[in-house]
């Protein structure tokens, strides 16, 4: 997993609450056995006017020319709810996003992001509202600093937090499976004490 330190990028304001992972990547694109090829279908139903994805929807925020090359997704509450499909953060990552900012995330989606190296930033409702307002005025560039847990934009600075290990894992690009495999003795000791029925 790539290490995450600081990131500076353009912000796309996606002003929709309760964005579920079916919207992020619809089911017809889940039939792959590889981990690539999802970015082009990110937000498919909103991004394209037709089912086949040949006509770009010019009204969808991500399709507006000023947001080309954006790498920070600004979203509303309960982002990533619904299905556990990791294909959702895969699609977000492949499209080019490094950071997703929202007032709240669904639990599974949040964990999936961290496991693949996307930084989910939880800010307060008011802070997110402020960023949406600023985004309505101009195309925003934000600086995200993981070691210092800050999101800054000009004079504005917001703090966010992650659990200690999530922060460490993102900063160091930890191979979580390898990390746990170093603890096999602990796992074996646990197994030795398990009741028969378990």
């Amino acid at each position: 997993m790539e290490k995450f330190n600081t990131h500076s990028g353009l912000v796309v304001p996606l002003d929709i609450a309760n964005v579920d992972t079916d919207q992020i990547i619809p089911k017809q694109f889940l039939q792959k056995t590889e981990r690539i090829g999802f970015g082009v279908h990110l937000f498919h139903e909103r991004r394209y006017l037709d089912h086949e994805g040949t006509q770009v929807n010019p009204d969808f925020v991500m399709n507006k020319p000023e947001y080309k090359g954006a790498s920070i997704l600004l979203a509303r509450e309960n982002f990533g709810c619904g299905s556990s499909r990791e294909h959702a953060p895969w699609a977000i990552e492949e499209y080019g996003f490094k950071v997703v900012i929202a007032p709240s995330f669904a639990d599974i989606f949040y964990g999936n992001c961290i496991n693949i190296g996307i930084l989910p930033v939880k800010l307060t409702e008011e802070e997110v509202e402020q960023l949406f307002k600023l985004s309505a005025e101009e195309v925003l560039t934000l600086n995200v600093d993981l070691p210092n847990n800050t999101v800054t934009c000009g004079d504005l600075s917001f703090k966010f937090s992650l659990s200690e290990f999530q922060q460490y894992s993102l900063e160091n690009g930890v191979d979580s499976v390898g990390w746990t495999l170093n603890k096999l003795d602990k796992i074996k000791a646990f197994e030795a004490k398990m009741p028969t029925w378990q």
Partner: protein, 471 residues
């Protein structure tokens, strides 16, 4: 002598599975049972292969084909090239890594969350995970069960453990008894209507109270199944005699003395009387009526005897806007009676409502409309949750009740709940569905989903609209 702090069931499950809680690390939990399917596992297997890592306990993982299989044919190629490719990859991966697979037409094949419980793979006091958000279903047994992403599937394969931050706890008590004709689906939809679709994010929910205790295991599964639909990490019901009686004798369940020992342990799982929850919600069962969703998330739900709400009914600006968007997508007008909404599709199935009791309940309604058939304007399909359910239903003659009334009787699978196979709705189709998600486009681009109980779905198939069966 030390007095121990009273614990919730979740805390007990946590403690008994804690492998390590090292400083600076996310706690490491042991996983007893891992269910996998064709859609969320291939990339996890690929990584294992790439890094030359084995599956640590292949006997603790069970595979089934459910998400994108055809419900018209047991042929692997029947649901298209993409699906066949994933199904073949699952076969190959299970063979290579030594995992038992219930493939096409196998007598144990079924939706993971139907198959696991009916085979006794789901046990109280265990941790069960699956790359599917409806894994919370198994919480009905007093198992800590939750959906995981593919990176976590790989972690479980390689280590038989998972890292989890501790969730908060919520007690949802449903007091008293529900009225006649009110199903488990109505109970859970009423709960979600009360909390909103993110009301339990960050929590593990324990359902309790007389109305929950009175439920059968299958009904408890329906309740726990939809825990994710209001954001909960997992849903739990304390195991009791109903649970033990259900588990006993099932194929993979412990037998004899081991079973007795297990039951003795399982009896200690329930939350201590004075355990403290981070949040408590109480409902009166008698107030719960038959539910129908009107919007595009499961929290947008009302009683069938009610009307489609207006954005003006909501004070929260986000909810107001969500209502406006939902009415537009659903092509509904505020103030319309729910019973006036016409549907043209009916789907009875999914891990929420495809078990034998669900099919019996639906068949019971069909029989109540003696002699009447599915109305011409409606296509109705019934998709049993597993081959065992299908076999049982056929032994009871339920399939004949349905087909004689004009329903299509299909082969088991996830089917139209998510429409990964060819069971998809077209733009503008309006469906009474016993599934769990009414998201935009979930059952097909531009399609409109109303979540209901099997009874309501059956009545909608015959009349062409929602019906207040109790009036």
């Amino acid at each position: 002598m030390t007095t121990s702090t009273p614990q919730t069931m979740y805390e007990k499950l946590w403690q008994t599975h804690l492998v390590e809680d090292a400083k600076g690390e996310t706690p490491l939990l042991y996983v007893d049972r891992h269910l996998i399917h064709e859609v969320t596992s291939p990339q996890a297997f690929a990584n294992l292969r790439f890094l030359n890592r084995p599956v640590r306990h292949p006997e603790r993982t069970i595979a089934t084909m459910d998400h994108n299989i055809s419900t018209r044919s047991i042929k692997i190629d029947a649901a298209g090239e993409g699906a066949a490719n994933q199904l073949r990859a699952l076969e190959k991966n299970c063979k290579e890594f030594g995992i038992e697979l219930f493939g096409m037409g196998h007598k144990n094949q079924g939706i993971a969350h139907v198959m696991g419980p009916e085979l006794g793979l789901t046990l109280p006091g265990t941790i069960i995970v699956c790359g599917d958000s409806h894994t919370a279903t198994h919480g009905a047994f007093g198992a800590l069960a939750f959906g995981i992403g593919t990176s976590e599937v790989e972690h479980v394969f390689a280590t038989q453990t998972l890292r989890q931050n501790k969730a908060k706890t919520m007690k949802i008590e449903v007091r008293g008894h529900v009225g006649a004709g009110i199903s488990a689906k109505d109970i859970i939809l009423a709960i979600i209507g009360k909390t909103g679709s993110a009301g339990a994010t960050g929590y593990v929910v324990e359902y309790c109270g007389e109305a929950i205790e009175a439920l059968s295991m299958e009904e408890r599964m329906t309740v726990c199944n939809m825990s994710i639909e209001f954001g909960a990490k997992a849903g739990l019901v304390a195991p009791d005699q109903t649970t033990f009686d259900y588990v006993e004798g099932r194929q993979y369940a412990p037998k004899g003395e081991v079973f007795e020992q297990a039951v003795a342990d399982w009896k200690n799982l329930r939350s201590d009387a004075d355990a403290v929850f981070d949040a408590v919600l109480t409902l009166d069962a008698k107030d719960i009526k038959a539910q129908v969703t009107w919007g595009t998330n499961p929290g947008q739900v009302v009683s069938v005897d009610s009307i489609v709400p207006s954005p003006e009914d909501f004070s929260d600006p986000v909810e107001k806007e969500s209502c406006k968007q939902a009415l537009k997508y659903m092509d509904l007008t505020a103030g319309t009676k729910m019973t006036d909404i016409q549907v043209n599709k009916v789907f009875i199935g999914s891990c929420t409502n495809s078990r034998i009791e669900d099919l019996r309940a639906a068949a019971g309604i069909v029989e109540r409309y003696a002699g009447q058939k599915v109305v011409d304007s409606v296509d109705a399909i019934i998709v049993p949750g597993s081959y065992r359910v299908k076999e049982q239903a056929e032994a009871e003659g339920l399939d004949k009740i349905f087909t004689n009334a004009g329903f299509e009787w299909r082969l088991p699978g996830c089917s139209m709940c998510l429409g990964m196979n060819d069971d998809v709705l077209g733009p503008g189709d309006r469906c009474a569905s016993t599934s769990n998600r009414n998201f935009e486009g979930r059952q097909g681009r531009g399609s409109r989903t109303h979540l209901v109980s099997p009874e309501m779905a059956a009545a909608a198939a015959i009349t062409g609209h929602f019906v207040d069966l109790n009036s």
